[in-house]
């Protein structure tokens, strides 16, 4: 009778192994399919969703200072998506003195899920970058700004192209007024201090290396010289 028991045991083990193998294969295929689906963004849907954004950012994503909306055309999808997540979760913008950020908070909630964030981010990234015109009344000294920019270049790269691994966006092609208000917000901890914002506190520390208003204008002047 022992051979019967042995054979039964062996078949049970074999069947179990087969089931586990099939389950692993199925889950792997499922995960692969899900990741493939997740990775793909629908530009057509993104364009349709971007219709709301055009009210402030413009149809070409070139921004509108009067609406406190910066140029976003051509920014990398990972950065746009990360900012949409931050706005929606209240890690960015949900500060009483962040007038522009508070405008984005409800807009980001208009996007219903991660896929919509991905779609609109991909569409924004696909837009050709717009070269914003200078708007600041007082221009800084780009040569002096190059020295201050040495600190920024550690994350944003010497050519301002950004570094996804560091979560640092490109700085080229941004409006000078947006760079100014962003630095001012970091200096006052209006931006970067909200709960859950892991990268913001680093920026608060970084902008502290700019000693005064002139230094801020200087570094912006240098950033404006960096080619897109």
């Amino acid at each position: 009778m022992s051979w019967v028991f042995e054979r039964f045991t062996r078949s049970v083990v074999s069947m179990s192994a087969l089931c586990i193998f099939l389950a692993v294969v199925a889950s792997s295929l499922g995960a692969f399919a899900a990741s493939a689906q997740e990775a793909s963004a629908d530009l057509a849907k993104g364009k349709a969703l971007f219709g709301l954004c055009t009210q402030c950012h413009g149809t070409n994503g070139g921004g509108m200072q009067a609406a406190l909306a910066p140029a976003i055309a051509g920014l990398p999808a990972w950065y746009i998506e990360a900012q949409l997540v931050k706005f929606k979760s209240g890690q960015r913008g949900l500060h009483a003195q962040d007038t522009g950020g508070l405008r984005m908070y409800p807009m980001s909630r208009w996007l219903q899920n991660e896929q919509e964030q991905k779609d609109v981010a991909a569409y924004v990234a696909s837009l050709p970058a717009v070269a914003p015109a200078p708007t600041l009344a007082q221009a800084g000294d780009a040569a002096k700004g190059q020295g201050y920019y040495a600190v920024c270049s550690a994350c944003h790269a010497p050519d301002g192209s950004g570094n996804q691994g560091m979560g640092a966006p490109p700085l080229t092609g941004l409006n000078d007024w947006y760079l100014l208000t962003s630095i001012q917000k970091y200096k006052k901890s209006i931006r970067g201090s909200l709960p859950g914002d892991t990268l913001g506190p680093a920026m608060i520390g970084m902008v502290a290396t700019l000693p005064d208003d002139d230094a801020v204008l200087d570094v912006i002047a240098h950033i404006q010289t960096l080619a897109k």
């Binding site: 709301l52 007038t99 508070l102 405008r103 409800p106 208009w110």
Partner: protein, 231 residues
């Protein structure tokens, strides 16, 4: 009665506004139904019939005009009742400013609300003020003044449960009052079209008992948060 069945009445003056609403609804609604009934009844009753010539009325004979003149009397009486009641409610809600137990600042912008609450010292515009976004905390049975501001365009501070609506106008600080009478969480909305995100700026008013509210103030004052962060 009519409104309260649809929406809680959570302020001292909400009942007065509801009563006015009921009176207007009845004084206008009942004559409207009677007039509508007579209108259609007469159309069917006196419709064209073969061999029957219609009568021409010049509109000057008293025997016919009296039906119009007599209807004017209740209309005038009802108007006076409505105006007197409305002015009394308007005075109470908008003109009169009872002494406040506390004051909050309400700042509207495209498309969010910022609320500044006095801290433990119960004095606004001091270092211990508590600032929140889209969430106003108040204590039940406490009379509040609100200082309403707008950063950019016209907005309207509307709290349906209070029956309160007040325009917010850029460049002006408008003072009003309310006294919550019911604990709970109710909607705050913007009731003035203010741009593309107008429909996306809801907020909440959280009404708590005095002790709970004091605990919230204590826990959220900047001083308490600084101590907690340093621990």
């Amino acid at each position: 009665m009519i409104l309260e069945s649809l929406l809680p009445s959570a302020s001292t003056y909400a009942g007065d506004i509801d009563r006015l609403f009921d009176v207007i609804t009845l004084l206008v609604g009942i004559p409207f139904l009677v007039a509508s009934y007579l209108f259609f009844a007469f159309i069917f009753r006196f419709k064209a019939k073969d061999g029957k010539k219609s009568m021409y009325i010049t509109g000057t004979e008293h025997q016919y005009m009296k039906w119009i003149h007599r209807a004017h009397v209740p209309i005038l009486v009802f108007d006076v009742i409505i105006v007197v009641m409305a002015v009394r409610v308007w005075y109470d809600v908008k003109q009169n400013l009872p002494e406040a137990n506390s004051t909050v600042r309400v700042i509207a912008q495209q498309w969010a609300w910022t609320f500044v609450h006095p801290g433990p010292d119960n004095v606004l515009d001091t270092a211990d003020d508590i600032t929140t976004i889209n969430e106003l905390h108040v204590a039940k049975d406490t009379l509040y003044h609100y200082k309403l501001e707008a950063k950019d365009v016209l907005h309207n501070f509307s709290v349906p449960a209070f029956r309160l609506k007040q325009d917010a106008i850029p460049g002006r600080i408008i003072t009003g009052w309310f006294e919550p009478t019911m604990a709970g969480t109710f909607d705050i909305q913007c009731a003035e079209i203010c741009g593309i995100g107008h429909g996306l700026m809801p907020a909440k008013i959280i009404i708590e008992g005095a002790e709970q509210h004091a605990a919230w103030v204590e826990a959220n004052s900047p001083l308490a948060l600084t101590v907690a962060a340093n621990q």
